[in-house]
């Protein structure tokens, strides 16, 4: 796994936070550095992932789809089969072990699509911790089912109404909470971004994905894959899928960003390709941000709430600059097409975030030879996207069902109030 130099990866990374947060980051870093090379700690983590989340997740060959596309053999790393439905749980379970060692009783988290918030709510419930989850008001509307479950699990979900009301604002708000609560609260950052040591720490726990891909490829393909493809929002599932292959140049690593509806400002979330992102320092770290000439962070768009982020992992910014990671993007339309294709050909319902990886991966696989292998990291499952997908593929009966359900739900509430 890649290591930082004093928190930096090339020119990116660092720790640019208000002084008040510094002691907690130092404490976390000291603990992480003391544990990360300890095989017993990794074993404890792997066992927890096995017992609680069903790891190792399978590597599934897409035989019908590969044949249909006529290129390389496509395999899916099934992070969608994790408990909670996404790779986010890996990092959260790992940070849970750290929280227990630090003895803190409260956790906070930011969330975009709600998968990281959901994973944090699950971990908090299991460990008996108090949890507050910050989520942009816009994202709450997009991913209400996750909000519903977080609240049922006992977490406090706070809607953030500043700015564009998405992931960036949720992260700002989590940092503000942390400034007041840092002595008793751990901030479970959900992606490989933010101030050191988070990019390194989150990538470390997520690297369990690529450890498994390596072993499974050797067993199932008889060799390592030619290419690994992952969607990139903050970058945690990509870092997880790439981690074990960084020093194996024969394996191409491809990160697919959200192309949104167009390359116009505010209509996409592409930071690594096409000179869209510019070096900046915000939200505690230095990376490529979508920003204007005055250094104000820009607005983003994606059909997938989890990719709708203005910055990107400093590790991926560095690897992309070095040419080790190949940046690609997929538009909202390409994504819904890939989403539909996977469902109908292979019977798997992907998250819209992960469907960006599919769109990029399918495109590349078509150009490759049948004896080559592409692994796409299917970072999450699509159940949570039912409302968004229903709007992308409108059907009269679904709308009518929602109307009936709204009536039933209103009646249930009136009955509860009546008691």
């Amino acid at each position: 796994m890649i290591r930082s130099e004093n928190g930096y990866f090339g020119e990116f990374g660092g720790r640019f936070v208000p002084e008040i947060l510094l002691p907690a980051l130092t404490e976390l870093e000291d603990l992480f550095f003391a544990l990360r090379d300890d095989p017993a700690f990794w074993q404890e983590f792997a066992t927890l992932c096995q017992e609680f989340s069903g790891r190792p997740t399978p590597l599934t060959p897409l035989r019908r789809l590969s044949k249909q596309l006529g290129g390389a053999q496509i395999w899916l790393k099934r992070e969608d089969l994790n408990h909670s439905g996404a790779h986010k749980i890996n990092n959260v379970l790992g940070q849970g072990l750290l929280v227990q060692r630090m003895g803190k009783q409260r956790v906070i988290a930011e969330t975009g699509a709600g998968q990281h918030g959901l994973a944090t709510a699950i971990m908090a419930a299991r460990l008996g911790l108090e949890a507050t989850i910050y989520m942009g008001a816009e994202d709450i509307e997009r991913q209400y089912s996750n909000v519903f479950w977080m609240r049922q699990l006992g977490s406090d979900v706070v809607g953030v109404t500043t700015g564009a009301q998405t992931l960036k604002e949720a992260l700002d708000e989590a940092l503000r909470d942390w400034a007041a609560s840092v002595e008793t609260t751990h901030y479970v950052l959900g992606t490989a971004c933010g101030p050191a040591p988070f990019p390194e720490l989150v990538s470390y726990f997520q690297s369990i994905i690529s450890d498994e891909i390596k072993e499974q490829s050797l067993r199932q393909m008889g060799r390592l894959p030619d290419e690994i493809v992952a969607c990139v929002g903050g970058g945690s599932n990509a870092m997880g899928a790439f981690g074990a292959f960084l020093e194996t140049p024969d394996v191409n690593l491809v990160g697919v960003e959200a192309g949104g509806v167009s390359l116009e400002d505010g209509k996409h979330s592409i930071r690594l390709s096409q000179n869209t992102g510019e070096t900046g320092i915000a939200q505690g770290y230095k990376t490529l941000f979508l920003q204007n000439d005055d250094g104000q962070l820009g607005d983003t768009h994606s059909i997938a709430a989890g990719l709708d982020y203005v910055g990107v992992s400093p590790i991926l910014a560095y690897l992309s600059q070095q040419g080790r990671v190949i940046p690609e993007s997929a538009t909202d339309d390409e994504v819904t097409e890939a989403f539909s294709l996977l469902m109908k050909t292979e019977g798997i319902i992907p998250a819209l975030e992960s469907a960006h990886g599919l769109a990029g991966g399918f495109k590349r696989a078509r150009q490759m030879k049948p004896e080559q292998n592409v692994v796409i990291n299917l970072s999450g499952r699509g159940d949570k996207d039912i409302f968004t997908v229903a709007r992308a593929f409108p059907q009269r009966e679904w709308t009518e069902f929602l109307q009936r359900e709204a009536v039933r739900s209103t009646e249930a509430l009136a009955k509860k109030r009546g008691h």
Partner: protein
Amino acid sequence: MFPAQYEDLQIMSHAVIGFPSLEENEKAIAGLAEAGVKLIELQVPFSDPVADGHTLVNACYEALKHGGSVQATLDLATTVCARHPEVTFVLMSYLNPLFRYGLEELFEKASAAGIKGMIVPDWPVEEIEPWLPTLDALGLSPILMVTPNTTAERVEKIAKASRGMIYVVSRMGVTGHETQWGEKFQKYIAEIRKHTDLPLAVGFGVRTANDLNALTGKAEVAAFCSQYIEWQRDEGSEIAANKMKSIIREIDSPEA
């Protein structure tokens, strides 16, 4: 200039450039100067101000819609520094707008505009240290922050890199909420004084005349910012300046 150590309490207040508008900023600053405010922070609005509470977050958001920027701040600074020589102007910003402008060029222009100091909450001491020779040559004082959980070792390091004064964050959290000024706070101040001869500017939670009275004799500067911006937002710059004037009169002659 910055006050001397143990000088009587002075008030530092605030302008978010572009809030409520660039023209209004000039009038508001004139009002503050007339009210007897000795130091004024000129805040470059930022899209993601993580150390600020909702008052300043929303002011930043509004300011950006009304032309607030690094350049607008420098332009305004040139005007107000010349117009109000009795006031010490301090540039307050998050790092990214300054970084994008180009740090070296920014420092030169800020100094040329007449700005005397800089407060940048997300710029840690380790990253400032290499710039100290440049800043010293320009007479631009980095005013670093100390917080209640800063270790003695780090206070020492921060004190060494600070110029003009040290910004003492009164409590945990962000700007815009109340603070208690009891024994614990006094001990905290005393600890910091062990490491520095610089005057102390106390901020976060300075919202009433009582707060100012509590700080009299303990700090050299009180940063009276979010409450002032709330007055400005709700009642306009003129009334906000009048309120500031009466509060300063109150602490200057507590018997009156």
